[in-house]
Symmetry: C2
Subunit: 220 residues, 2 copies
């Protein structure tokens, strides 16, 4: 209980921090996280056993526990790192852009680009959202809420700027649905790249949310 668990806790805190340090421990941990992400992606969190993770990362079963104290914490580290990264990138990409429509297009592009470049991680994030409990769950939920609120802000800005009327909540959640569902169907050999899909989804969503208030609702 003494030294390993302490070391693991310290590094876990370091994991998302500045990259420079990158001790041997940190490198090995992030390798394990990468392999674990693939396994969770393929078999699901509950469906993946610690022995699966051991096989995938080429380390003994017991050896894994030197790097994290439980399977649940491992999932937590994956989700937190993935989510933190996508939020970070979004913020930096939004800097200096002021046109509301353009900002939403950047939001969509950032989300889809990261999603397709890190499909496994994003699938684990979307699909295993309910797998964590209590403390772990709430920490990830906080990041999710921040991300959600950013999107709400972008849409409210557009509404104000263009004088539009629609339910922000439904719009935001519809947009997330469009984008996140991609993990169920995207096939790199058939489908276009992130940029083009972002353009097409952006077209549909933005046109859908702008332009007057209603389509013709004839017939009955």
């Amino acid at each position: 209980m003494a030294s390993p668990s302490t070391a693991a806790r310290v590094s876990a805190r370091r994991y998302r921090a500045a990259s420079p340090p990158a001790t041997r421990f940190d490198k090995r941990l992030s390798e394990i996280l990468t392999h674990a992400t693939d396994v969770f992606c393929k078999k699901g969190y509950e469906g993946a056993s610690m022995r699966d993770l051991s096989r995938a990362s080429g380390m003994s079963l017991a050896g894994l526990y030197y790097y994290f104290e439980s399977k649940e914490r491992l999932l937590f580290l994956i989700q937190k790192h993935t989510f933190t990264t996508i939020v970070q990138r979004l913020k930096s990409r939004l800097q200096g852009i002021s046109d509301p429509e353009q900002r939403i297009r950047i939001f969509i592009l950032n989300h889809l680009e990261y999603f397709l470049a890190n499909q496994a991680g994003m699938k684990v994030l979307s699909h295993e959202a309910e797998a964590l409990k209590n403390g772990f769950a709430s920490e990830v939920a906080a990041i999710k809420r921040e991300y959600y609120r950013i999107c709400v802000g972008l849409l409210d800005d557009l509404k104000r700027d263009r004088g539009l009327q629609f339910s922000t909540r439904i719009a935001v959640l519809s947009l997330f649905g469009m984008m996140n569902w991609i993990y169920t169907w995207h096939n790199p050999k058939v489908d276009a790249d992130a940029e083009q899909i972002a353009r097409e989804m952006g077209d549909v969503f933005l046109r859908g949310v702008m332009n007057g208030t209603r389509t013709r609702r004839d017939v009955r």
Copy 2:
């Protein structure tokens, strides 16, 4: 191995058929399916144990195996029944409607209404789509493909009717994303009913897919 497994196989075939017969066996089975659906919804397929299902349905662990031969087959029965029902309802609702826009609105309304009325079943269908293997998986996949193709047909009709240009595949999958994502956020105490959400999502989607070809893509 003799009589029980035969009986179970026979009734499973009967499960989705005409309602009139409804033997004692069939009634009990569908009660079990209902409870199992709730448990799978809450804990996930892998996360739910047969002992959980036994507790939820008020039947002994061994007793369950009189009604189906494996946990996987139980999930299959749930998915097949849910999917078959929603396709059936859609077909009957589409009869007699010829306006392409109206037909798409019916598709959306049917999907969301059934989704919210059978949240547990639809979540198990959406969220556990990859849990089945081989024969079970392909049978459900066939229904899914049929449902998908119906939606593609509706959109292609709209395109032809209105002379529009967009990627049907991306549009259909975006629409499914918008709709299916609902299981992650819908809260009956906060959110509107299916009819209103269907109207709002229909507005966004249809407006997005109609109206010329492009939004103004100014700025760079």
